[in-house]
Amino acid sequence: MDVLLLQLLNGLDKGGAYALIALGLTLIFGTLGVVNFAHGALFMLGAFCAVSFNKLITLQKITIDPTKTTAWGSPLEVRTPYAEAMFGDFGIWIVNYSVPVSILLAIPVMLLVGFVMERGLIKHFYNRPHADQILVTFGLAIVLQEIIKAIFGANPLPQTAPDAVRGAADIGAMLGLQAGAIVYPWWRMVYLLFAAGIIAGVFAFLQFTTFGMVVRAGMADRETVGLLGINIERRFTIVFAIAAVVAGLAGVMYTPILPPDYHIGMDFLVLSFVVVVVGGMGSLPGAVAAGFLLGILQSFASMNEVKEILPGIDQIIIYLVAVVILLVRPRGLMGRRGVMEN
């Protein structure tokens, strides 16, 4: 029982992450009709916003201590972080909270990235075949990746959660169950809440603002909205930028869970496509539902009891579920007819 509860919690957490990554992708799919293979790269850029911010505030003042030498005989460099030297306790605090604080950096950066990408590139591909969109966005993803690799190297760069939420919470004990039975990392719960918040925010934005209404109308029927004389192009730019921010923030907050490297986006790309399509093209609730569904199923499929009966099931569960759902429901969980069907 404890085990099942724990796996369910874990499934929710994974689902939150999947849903968050899929959310931006499906926004772009649904409104702009663009197959964006660079979405993973946006996630990666977000993660590297956190890395850069951390590097920036832990920049070190290098002084050479001539009395000591390194193992290879050069003079020893002594490093003291600027932030600490200049801001004292506040500096220490900000280093501690560098991941969440770097959201403040990530939002403008990702907005800018999204804006530039859409205006400079994606815009010209709205009416081009999907094949061209795939090629150009894939090319862009490689370029972004290689730039990051050239700057930060290929190894994963660890980012730590703030001390306050670094360890694990004994949820079992809190619920009055056996202590130590249900333990879950604080930061993952923060991530789940964060994901829920962002998802709710995007939904509220689309539901309750006039801007959102137009975008939703555009998702339903792009031509009509265009005919209404609404400047849909400008709104598309904003939607793309929002999607970029969502992807970027997902990346920022994920860094304490998965040390980011330049390839992290590609690793998520396929998965996010599967989530979006299983959810149904052009459906935001579908993407969210699919994210949670796949997360929970993956979590349960990885239990030893399940793997003993079906060896290897944990490795293919996501794809298996995708196949079954697409065969039972032709347009995924909540897809609409005619979106990306030809």
Binding site: V35, L121, H124, R128, H130, A131, D132, I134, L135, V136, F138, G139, L140, A141, I142, V143, Q145, E146, I147, A150, V270, F273, V274, V277, V278, M281, P311, G312, Q315, I316, Y319, L320, A322, V323, L326, L327, P330, R331, G332, G335, M340, E341, N342
Partner: protein, 377 residues
């Protein structure tokens, strides 16, 4: 205006293609690509992309799991070596048949959906194949290490010649590596190209393009699109299986990573880069990507310094530093930039570029000119 090339023009094109392929060792040598392994790869991936294009270019169905068939072909070929012997002929036949059957099964299910739903179904099947081949199916695939021929294998038909003979595929006493291996692949590429050309010009090919153009009208014209797309899917799966078999004939090792989504993605990129729906485009795209992968990745600072050695020192260092970003460990960057440039400036891929050059040439050579031929090829 558009006209289908006449049969004599097609024959000419085929002849030029065949000669060009067979003389590749000559004319590719100056750009450093005239060595057997890369030549083999050109031919093999050319076949893979040609087959992929029969599905994607003609019907518009974008399979994101074609690498699965490449992998199945490879495993079948190696098993044929292990059980039957090192002759490439049964390996080729078995690989094509097995991958055809595999494609039939996957295609039958996946083609119930279209558009991106179809793409994701094929992707899912391929990823499942890959994940299982890597782990649970290790007894059949030898997992991460890859399936190889061992001296202890039964090899029914040439067990007599066991001993110290190297374990490479052998046809009539000629080992299928090095140049003989390339010519074996080249001949199959030429045959594969010929078949593709026939399919392009055939009623079947026309029907496939009808699938891409308007399935609704096709239905109301009394045609059933499903068997057409399934046939195209199976044929292109067989091409992939053949390519997989050739990879093992020239080099008897089959690894699971051949089935990964990145490998499926690669053939998509090759086809789009070269020009989808054209006969030559996918082959050019395949060649270009393989060239970058093998030649650009091999440059290092030392080679760059020797290339730019003629420059004065104050120029040489920055030039080497800048080009160094794009070669060696940065060869992916070049590839990414190339993808973007081509798709931005040449929407129809490399073939579009050729036809533009052709048009300019024709115009400047004073042809009366209004009767343009669209790039059917």
């Amino acid at each position: 205006m558009s006209t289908t090339p006449t049969s004599s023009r097609d024959l000419l094109m085929f002849a030029v293609f065949a000669v060009a392929v067979l003389t590749m060792p000559f004319w590719l040598a100056p750009i450093g690509a005239g060595y057997p392994d890369l030549l083999q790869k050109f031919a093999i991936y050319g076949l893979f992309a040609t087959g992929f294009n029969l599905l994607f270019g003609l019907t518009g169905y974008l399979s994101f799991g074609h690498a699965a068939f490449l992998g199945v072909g490879s495993y079948t070929a190696v098993w044929s070596f292990k059980l039957l012997g090192m002759n490439p002929v049964p390996a080729v036949i078995l690989a094509v048949v097995t991958s055809g059957v595999f494609a039939m099964a996957i295609g039958f299910v996946s083609l119930r959906r279209s558009g991106i739903y179809f793409s994701i179904l094929t992707l899912a099947f391929a990823q499942m194949s890959y994940n299982l081949a890597y782990s649970v199916l290790t007894p059949i695939t030898n997992g991460e290490t890859g399936l190889r021929v061992l001296r202890t294998d039964p090899r029914l038909f040439d067990a007599a010649s066991q001993g110290d003979a190297p374990l490479v595929s052998t046809l009539f006493g000629v080992e299928m590596n090095g140049y003989p291996g390339f010519y074996f692949c080249a001949v199959l590429l030429i045959i594969g190209f010929f078949i593709a050309q026939r399919i392009f010009r055939s009623p079947f090919g026309t029907m496939l393009r009808a699938v891409k153009s308007n399935q609704n009208r096709m239905n109301y014209t009394g045609l059933n699109p499903r068997p057409y797309t399934l046939a195209a899917f199976v044929i292109s799966g067989m091409y992939a299986g053949l390519a997989g078999a050739l990879l093992c004939i020239t080099d008897p090792l089959a690894g699971a990573e051949r089935m990964q989504w990145t490998a499926s993605g690669e053939v998509v990129l090759m086809t789009i880069l070269g020009g989808m729906g054209t006969l030559l485009g996918p082959i050019l795209g395949a060649g270009l990507i393989k060239y970058f992968e093998n030649i650009f990745s091999a440059f290092n600072d030392q080679t760059l310094h020797s290339i730019f050695g003629f420059l004065p020192d104050f120029l040489e260092t920055p030039v080497v530093a800048i080009t160094g970003l794009f070669v060696g460990e940065g060869w992916h960057l070049t590839l990414g930039v190339l993808f973007m440039l081509i798709v931005i400036f040449l929407p129809g891929g490399i073939m579009e570029g050729f036809s533009r050059i052709g048009r300019v040439f024709r115009r400047s050579s004073g042809a009366k000119g209004s009767h343009q031929t669209a790039p059917a090829e």
